[in-house]
Point group: C2
Chain length 416, copies 2
């Protein structure tokens, strides 16, 4: 159960709302944009068959190691962080080789037993320099040449059909799953990119897809005016409020916030058709901790932000603040006998009220509990919101031309 509420005026006319529904439907129907259809794909069935055949338990696989960066890692990491405390989660470790930081890379690899590890190399093209460098390091360090059974038996690839990495998979008989060509990295968490690692961790990925499908269907039934209104407000006020703050109450949202930052920043930070630099800067913060960090700036700083509050109604952990009185600190006893769950949610409400009193544009998302269904719903929520903002801003939401220049300069540094 997810409840949503906007505390600012809905300004889009019926025509504007209908045109937005139609624009996203056209993207879907043209086949140009594929993420809308991921909840209905048969990829999960293929993955389940693969997992059954491989028999991970019998082979003693204790570590799932995702080798990928950006859209290839942030989605699975976000979902696992949200759901790690749920009963679905098995004991396997989920590790990520992302950054080419030498210390971090070494810290991860030195603890790994190759025989107990299954590596998932993820890249749309295959040529991501961070990802290939990590794979080369593994091949050499664990003496697993790419043509060997030792390599083949411990690796899977996730990539576009026909990509160089796909060809590598064919050449070396590595199990390979495809990302649809029309699904970009940052919109790929509900493809094999997220489904393979998350299913291997025990999660009910069917429910994840079902949650995403529920919101997607509701949207294409034209029942999500609130979502369209929020996107319209953000896009039409993007010069007044160039910063969007996602204020999530719950430590489990840290990685979800990071996933949102990529989705939002990379999709909307663009040169529009008139040559203007447009977009909005995403900032993800966590309650209650960041009440002691970012809140002062929100309340008294420049009025350049919108704020979305995320609240989890039931954390499913009933820990109580006991009836203990600390000498000289008795004025904190008003909270005794209440749960931590009550405290963090009251903090969320109180903080939201204090932000609203400043006249800041706020909306609220209340999630009943963290489970696969609601997580899938939240993923589709942010993907649709991003597409809608891109539509209203008049940008290409799905490319990222700005990152190419740095890659060219990098290659130049090692040339010759």
């Amino acid at each position: 159960m997810i409840k949503r509420e906007l505390f600012f005026d809905e300004e889009a006319t019926d025509e504007v709302v209908t045109a937005a529904y139609d624009a996203l439907r056209a993207e879907m129907q043209s086949g140009k944009i594929g993420y809308y259809l991921l909840p209905e794909s048969d990829m999960l069935t293929k993955i389940e068959v693969f997992i059954d055949d491989y028999d991970f338990d019998a082979k003693g696989i204790k570590n799932i190691v995702v080798i990928g960066i950006g859209g290839s890692s942030l989605g699975a990491k976000a979902v696992d962080s949200l759901l790690a405390h749920t009963p679905s989660r098995n004991e396997r470790k989920l590790l990520f080789l992302e950054n080419v930081d030498p210390v971090e890379t070494e810290n991860i690899l030195k603890e790994l037993v190759y025989e107990e590890s299954f590596f998932i190399m993820i890249s749309k093209s295959g040529s991501t320099i961070e990802t290939t460098s990590h794979v080369k390091q593994i091949v050499a360090r664990f003496d697993a040449p790419v043509e060997s059974e030792r390599f083949r038996e411990h690796f899977a690839f996730i990539t576009d059909a026909g990509s160089p990495l796909d060809a590598f998979g064919k050449a070396c008989q590595v199990p390979t799953f495809h990302i649809p060509h029309n699904v970009g990295g940052r919109f790929s968490v509900l493809s094999a990119v997220g489904l393979l690692p998350l299913t291997l961790l025990g999660y009910d990925t069917r429910a994840l897809l079902a949650g995403a499908k529920a919101l997607k269907d509701s949207f294409f039934d034209h029942s999500e005016d609130l979502l369209v209104q929020k996107a319209y407000y953000y896009a039409t006020h993007s010069k007044m409020f160039p910063i969007n703050v996602l204020f999530s109450y719950g430590s489990a949202f840290k990685e979800f916030n990071a996933w949102y930052v990529q989705l939002w920043g990379e999709s909307l930070g663009k040169i529009d058709k008139d040559g203007n630099h447009v977009g909005m800067t995403p900032v993800g913060i966590i309650g209650s901790v960041d009440q002691h960090s970012f809140l002062q700036l929100l309340i008294e700083g420049p009025r350049d932000k919108t704020v979305t509050m995320i609240k989890i109604v039931d954390f499913q952990m009933p820990t109580v603040i006991p009836n203990v009185s600390l000498p000289h600190l008795e004025k904190t006893d008003y909270i005794n006998g209440h749960t931590f769950n009550e405290l963090i949610n009251a903090q969320c409400d109180a903080t939201m009220e204090s932000i609203l009193q400043q006249g800041i544009s706020v909306d609220k998302i209340e999630i009943g509990k963290l489970d696969e269904y609601n997580t899938g719903y939240m993923i589709m929520y942010y993907e649709l919101l991003t597409s809608l903002c891109g539509h209203f801003l008049g940008v290409n939401t799905y490319d990222q031309p700005g990152v190419e220049l740095g890659k060219q300069i990098l290659k130049g540094k090692f040339a010759g």
Copy 2:
């Protein structure tokens, strides 16, 4: 060795620069602002005596648990993250009870053996609701009443002299260290707040203080014009560039970025003397990972950001990308034989060039290696930069009146 370079024009006149030096000196000499003098305080000596007397090894203490939030936790966490891979670091675990997230709290407490744990409760006043709630939970869960030896032997307090927490410490004979009244939470990492946990982890905290002192002395010798120029540029362009991005190349900087976010946001996000909402929004990102997340927005999005690049010259980890050729991915072989250290630094340089080509205001900080001295230097660098920006913006850098309203609303929710 830390090298700094601005890639934008220095616009402050000699008079403006001198006035800034004088303003900070006046803050220090008036006794109103105390962080400037922390590198010269005798607190570390007291802490060393306490640690010797307590004999943590003989008592089998394996976990240092900091109970504190915001300025009471972010500093020690930042330093430990930067230095965790260095030889100084002992085997003790450093844990933080910060957020009142029920799942996170439970995850930390369920793994703790009380007898092997030493708890440091940190709060300037003592009445922080998150901190007291955690302490109450520990008292009840581990059967350690506040009057008992069991409590007294496993706790230390860090607080202001004369605060309610100080009185609690006296009443129950808990070892208590004082934060100077004129040192705010977010400027307190070089007080007992950081020094006690960091010394307990084996770090050379004398070198940490020495690094901070070196920059502070250089500043008050009027040898840090570049720092003043940077602050002046930021403050005078704060409406044009309301977002400051700290782009740190190295995973170890994640927590340092978080420390910077609090320092910057909470110090500068203020209502100025003319009643205007001023300040700049801090965004901390990590290279190379966030090249795949935030970079597109930087390059093509609105021109509302300044960028500081941090680079570590020598990661002291010589891992090489081996001479392995992956079938069909041979075009990535240009990096073979180079170290990860070379790759991440070349990425830093290439990304900086691509950002500079957009005409964005960039500066660079090059740190020779991560050690205690350089870490102390970086802490003082950002503290001085923050004070200077506050001076130029005309705000009170050291208070945080905006967070009080939410606290009042929260209490009201539990009243009666």
